[in-house]
Structures are given as C-alpha cells and as structure tokens.
C-alpha cells in the first residue's frame, strides 16, 4: 500500500508542476490597469449595429460584459467549458440555428469571452450568425 501512496503522491506532484507550467506559459493572461475597449454588436435582421466604448480595469471580457449586462442587453449561460453569450441587445439567439460570431480586432476569436484578456484599444465585435 505504501508503494501505491508514493506513486499517487509523485503523480499529484507532477500534475502540480505541469499546472504551474500551464499557468506560466499557456494560460491567457490579462493586464491590470485602465484600458479603453470597444464592443460592437451587429444584428442585421433587427437592424442593430451598436458600438459601445468602455474604460475598464477588468482582466477578462466576460467580467466587463457582465458588469455592463443591462446596457448591452446581454444574457449568458454557463457551461463546463465556459460562458456562452446567448443574447445581446435583448435579442436572444435561437440555439438551434443562431450564434454570436465573436471577433477580436477584426479576426475570428479562437477562444470565448472567458479567456479573452482585455487589452487597451481592443475592438470586440459580436455578429449574429446562423449555422
């Protein structure tokens, strides 16, 4: 039994080291301080094209969007993999055919808003799209 406990401790220690490495090199990092960012929401079928500019100290976009939830008319749903934006400007997506395409500085984002660090001058664009 002792041998098994040692093996378990070794594996846990190795995992802690790997986690530290992940946090240091791979995990997205935010920068603190006052940052000015723009959020643009495009819902063509409702003729909505709104732009908001915010100064924020939040590190990640979800936190900012939750703070400005009322102004953005945003609704969220939490899943194991992170937060999903289910509505903007009080428009709720049809989960069977629609989603908000999320772009950062004109490029499709590879991660969700939970993992998008807020950088000064960033433009975040949400476009209602269908699949």
């Amino acid at each position: 039994m002792n041998k098994k406990i040692i093996a378990i401790i070794v594996v846990i220690l190795a995992a802690v080291l790997l986690y530290a490495g992940y946090q240091a090199f791979l995990a997205p990092k935010g920068t603190e301080g006052s940052k000015e960012v723009t959020i643009q929401i495009v819902i063509e079928k409702e003729n909505i094209n709104e732009t908001f500019t915010y100064k924020t100290d939040h590190e990640f976009l979800t936190d900012l969007m939750k703070e400005k939830q009322e102004e953005l008319g945003a609704s969220f749903e939490s899943f194991d993999f992170g937060t999903m934006i289910t509505g903007l400007m009080k428009y709720k997506v049809d989960p069977n055919s629609e989603f908000f395409l999320f772009q950062v500085n004109g490029e499709d984002s590879m991660v969700g808003t939970d993992d998008t660090p807020i950088q000064d001058g960033d433009v975040y664009k949400f476009i209602l799209s269908t699949f």
Binding site: K4, A7, I8, V11, I12, A15, L18, Y19, Y22, L26, D80, F81, G82, D108, M110, V111, G112, D115
Partner: protein
C-alpha cells in the same frame, strides 16, 4: 454471440452509465476508464467493444446528438483496443493506472482533433488548450482510481463472471 453475452453487455453498459452519472458532479473525474480496462481484461475484446457501443449509444439518448458523438464512438472502443493489446504484456495495476493516466491526459487532444474536422484547426487548438487543466485532472484522477480499484474490481468481476457463465450450463 450468445444471449448471455448480449444480456451482460446491457448490464455492464448500464453499470457504466450509472457510474458515470454518479460522478458527473465532479468535472473530469470518472470511473468509465477503469470499467473498460477491467472489462477488457476480463471479458476480452469482442464483448468489451459491445459494451462500449451500447454505453455510447445510451449517452446519446441522454445528452442528445452532437459533434462529440463521433469522438465518443471512437475513443472508448479505442481504449478497449489499446488495453487489449497491452494486456498480453501488462498484468500489474501500475501499468493500467499509467495507461488510464495517459488516456486522461490525451482525452482533450483527441476530441480537439475530431472537433477540428467540423470547425477548423484553430478551433481545435483553442479547444485543446482551454481544456488542458481538465485533462490534467482527468489523467491524475484516472491514475489514482485505477491504481486503487483495478485489483479489487478485477477480482470481483472474475468471480461474478464465473458464476454467471457456469449457471448457464
């Protein structure tokens, strides 16, 4: 394939589903990997593959149809095939615990590959990196669970299977 094998596949896949649901409140901690390792080493490849197929089909009935279904239909039979190939050389629980740990570590990567066929490699890469900490938990918990429970469960399965098949004749 005898009727008893078919019934056994149903019972074991139900047990696997129940075990998965019982631990579903802890993200990425599961006993499905342990079960399939024990099934493969006691029942052999053919019957274990049948259990895996019934298990995955049950998952679809519970959670609905989506892109993960394809990965799921591949990953559990793949584990059965890997364990079956290893079982000729590995007999100790340490070997299976290490296999389970590696399976957990690469679980997210496997799904990232299948997802990238639908949404592109950039999405697949983001999906994988985003889930790395979950994979870490998955691998470590698999190692601990298999190391501690493989032997007693294997013993129990051997005894139960002996009774099950002897009572058939």
């Amino acid at each position: 394939m005898k009727i008893r094998d078919i019934v056994l596949a149903g019972i074991l896949s139900a047990a696997t589903t129940a075990g998965k649901l019982a631990l579903s409140f802890v993200p990425n901690v599961e006993i499905v990997t342990l079960f399939f390792i024990v099934f493969t080493t006691t029942l052999g490849i053919k019957r274990s593959l049948m259990v895996a197929m019934v298990f995955v089909t049950t998952e679809i009935l519970i959670y609905g149809f989506s892109t993960w279904v394809i990965g799921y239909y591949l990953i559990w039979p793949m584990l059965v095939l890997i364990v079956s190939a290893l079982s000729k050389r590995v007999s100790s629980e340490y070997g299976y615990a290490a296999t389970g740990a590696l399976f957990g570590f690469f679980y997210g990567m496997f799904f990232a590959i299948t997802e990238s066929f639908f949404y592109g490699p950039a999405y697949g890469l983001a999906y994988w990196i985003n889930g790395l900490t979950f994979d870490l938990v998955h691998g470590v918990s698999n190692f601990i669970i298999i190391l501690l429970l493989y032997k007693p469960l294997r013993k129990m399965m051997d005894t139960s299977l002996k009774h099950y098949y002897n009572s058939a004749s």
